[in-house]
């Protein structure tokens, strides 16, 4: 009787084992980032997401591939996974959030989020447009602790007059950096870091801040471009290493400052912060600028950054000169405010905001030119202190005085006419 030959069984077993062994070896050669993930879905996301999105929205895949997140092995699901309080979307086998918020970033970047959440970029930015109605009591209390009166306030009177379309496409585009989210968090980190690039370099570019900090009401980008800092940056930026880790940033990487260098960076051992208000000593945005409650600490911290390039004496001189502009502007704005107040006291203006030309004139006075003069002084923009600031302040104050006189004259003419009409009627 024929028996099975050992050779055949041996070859079959050997071949089968060799195939399994080869599969194990190939699998072991896969990058750890592809396989060592917290769940099977995370493993799948390392390749499956890009498989479709390379065809549908290819730019986001390429942006992600060049990002620091990709280099560190963070995959799509790490960021897009829906968290508590976020609307969920079932998307081709994955459950993702319909809208990512700062809460998703805060999973890994909690310190940065906490710093951001106490900054004026957070709740005060949105409240400046919409008032306090969108915030929880807890969020209001947290923001008011750092910025009194900045959140517990009414919606912006001007934006209400301009209407929802203007708010949506105009005001909100910048101010939503501090919009409250359904998940309890505030704002969005991608406004500065972009979405799939999640770039430090982008946040360091002055143009990124300049997306909002530009124009007549806060012309920081224009002032920076005119300043020595801006001119040097534009001339030398190709030599900079803008991607360097924020904890390791040195003047060797960026020998010229951008907005983030002075306001946020941990330059050469300085404390890095995402609270953009932490190094600000004056309320420059206000009509009348006062010292901030953290004046001393803020000025010390800002000057620590200045000291990386300048000696103490010129820094102090620079501050003294800038503070002199603030003081002078305060006097000018106060004079203009008194003109308006007197007109109100004399019932020459209605209580309703923005319904008379002189109200717009006064608003432009402090909101455009007063701010510009002060920002110009603190950012080294001489032309903005003078021609876009003080010259306009002088010209407009003269205009306001003339307008006030005209209003009084018109009222006087109206009173005289009323009297003569009344006398005429009594004579009849």
């Amino acid at each position: 009787m024929q028996r099975v030959k050992f050779a055949h069984v041996f070859i079959a077993v050997f071949l089968g084992t060799a195939i399994v062994g080869a599969a194990l070896l190939v699998n072991a050669k896969r990058p750890d980032v592809d396989t060592r993930q917290p769940s099977a879905n995370h493993v799948k996301a390392t390749g499956k997401c890009a498989e479709c999105h390379r065809r549908e929205t290819s730019a986001v895949v390429h942006q992600y591939e060049t990002s620091r997140h990709a280099a560190k092995g963070i995959n799509c699901l790490d960021c897009h996974k829906a968290l508590d309080g976020q609307n969920k979307l079932e998307h081709k086998g994955f459950v993702i959030a319909t809208h990512l918020t700062s809460k998703n970033c805060a999973k890994c970047h909690k310190t940065e989020y906490d710093q951001f959440a106490r900054s004026r970029h957070a709740a005060p930015a949105w409240a400046a447009v919409a008032g306090s109605k969108d915030f929880t009591a807890e969020q209001i209390a947290h923001a008011e602790k750092y910025h009194k009166g900045a959140v517990l306030r009414k919606a912006n009177a001007l934006s209400l007059l301009e209407g929802p379309a203007a708010i949506r496409s105009g005001c909100a585009s910048c101010h939503d950096v501090g919009r409250p989210n359904s998940d309890g968090s505030i704002g969005s980190c991608t406004d500065c870091h972009s979405r799939h690039s999640s770039s430090i370099a982008l946040a360091r570019q002055p143009e990124t801040c300049g997306q909002c900090h530009m124009g007549p009401d806060h012309s920081q980008l224009e002032i920076y471009s005119e300043s020595k800092h801006g001119v040097l940056y534009n001339a030398q930026k190709s030599q900079f290493n803008m991607h360097v880790d924020s904890q390791k940033l040195s003047t060797a990487d960026m020998s010229v400052p951008t907005c983030s260098t002075c306001h946020m960076s941990g330059l050469e051992g300085n404390k890095m912060t995402h609270d953009t208000t932490e190094r600000l000593s004056w309320f420059l945005f206000a009509a009348k600028s006062d010292k901030r409650p953290i004046f001393d600490r803020a000025q010390v911290e800002m000057k620590e950054t200045c000291l990386k390039c300048h000696t103490k004496a010129p820094i102090d001189k620079f501050y003294d000169e800038a503070e002199a502009v603030v003081a002078a502007t305060n006097i000018k704005v106060n004079e203009a405010a008194q003109i308006i107040q007197k007109l109100r006291d004399e019932n020459l203006l209605t209580p309703k905001p923005f319904d008379e030309p002189i109200e717009f004139l006064y608003f432009d006075y402090w909101h455009y030119y007063g701010r510009t003069a002060k920002h110009g002084a603190f950012m080294g923009g001489a032309d903005f202190v003078q021609w876009h600031g003080n010259y306009e302040l002088l010209k407009m104050l003269t205009d306001m005085k003339h307008m006030a006189a005209e209003l009084r004259a018109a009222k006087h003419r109206s009173n005289v006419k009323g009297q003569s009409d009344a006398e005429g009627q009594s004579n009849d």
């Binding site: 079959a12 089968g16 195939i19 699998n27 896969r30 993930q37 498989e51 081709k92």
Partner: protein, 275 residues
């Protein structure tokens, strides 16, 4: 029309006809689910579904009459066979095009559409052609059937490797199907090379029984994975989660191989009896 005068097909050949018909029909459902992942983005993704729904009707009269070698049944079977072969090859190229043609990496291969999937049409098409070109009394018919089952298991090996690699073999049980299909390949390869070894064919039967068990186990594990999947409803998990029908390819191919082994054993026993 089938020729009523023609001789009826032998049982094993007839079973393979049923096998081909059943597989072509079932592929309609399987591919409908697979292409639902892509939401049938490209019109060409409907082609295999329509094909699989249409061709069983063409094949059915010949299969029911158990006469497939003559007349219209032969022509229909050959046409369907050739079309299936071409459909499978074109499908494989189109599947690879999704990513692999632009980036030839292991990762691109793993996450591309399953390139071996469409070759199931090629395999079934070749079965139909084999049944019409190889005579009923051919000593090679059984070997060819085992060879095609072997090719199926090679495809199955690559599918289970790539599919489970997408999960990074997160669950160790995902290696079972890879190991099972690897041994199916090695045993059937020896069977094809040495078809006269009846005793080894018995070992192959045992190996095929193991494939049936692995397939059913895989079906159960995939079903559990889909019931506990991330989506709120089962349908979504069935479409995007573990492919529910994929493990059934193991018993499916095991049956085909078993028919081939049966044929080889019976012809060998006849030869032995004659000698």
């Amino acid at each position: 029309m089938t020729d009523p005068q023609a001789e009826k097909s032998p049982l094993k050949v007839w079973l393979v006809e049923w096998f081909a018909l059943g597989n072509l029909a079932f592929l309609a459902l399987d591919i409908y689910m697979a292409h639902s992942i892509n939401q049938f983005t490209h019109w060409a993704e409907w082609t295999p579904v329509v094909f699989s729904l249409g061709v069983p009707i063409v094949l059915l009269p010949g299969v029911l009459a158990r006469r497939h070698r003559t007349g219209t049944a032969r022509f229909a079977g050959m046409s369907v066979g050739i079309a299936s072969v071409l459909l499978g090859i074109v499908g494989m190229v189109l599947h690879l095009e999704s990513t692999f043609f632009s980036e030839q990496t292991l990762k691109a291969l793993i996450y591309a559409a399953p390139f071996a999937g469409p070759l199931s049409y090629t395999g079934v098409g070749l079965l139909l052609i084999l049944n019409r070109l190889e005579p009923d009394d051919s000593p090679h018919w059984g070997t060819w059937i085992i060879f095609l089952a072997l090719c199926g298991f090679v495809g199955n090996l690559s599918l289970s490797l790539c599919d489970h690699a997408q999960n990074g073999f997160f669950h160790p049980t995902e290696w079972i199907s890879v190991a099972a299909s690897a041994f199916a390949v090695s045993f059937l390869l020896i069977a094809v090379i040495r078809p006269q070894e009846i005793w080894f064919l018995k070992w192959c039967v045992a190996m095929m029984l193991l494939q049936v068990i692995v397939g059913l186990l895989g079906f159960a594990l995939h079903l559990i994975a889909d019931f506990t999947g991330p989506a709120a409803n089962l349908t979504t998990n069935l479409i995007y989660g573990a492919p529910i029908f994929a493990p059934l390819l193991f018993p499916n191919l095991a049956i085909l191989a078993a028919i081939g082994i049966w044929e080889l054993q019976s012809s060998r026993m006849i030869e032995t009896a004659v000698v």
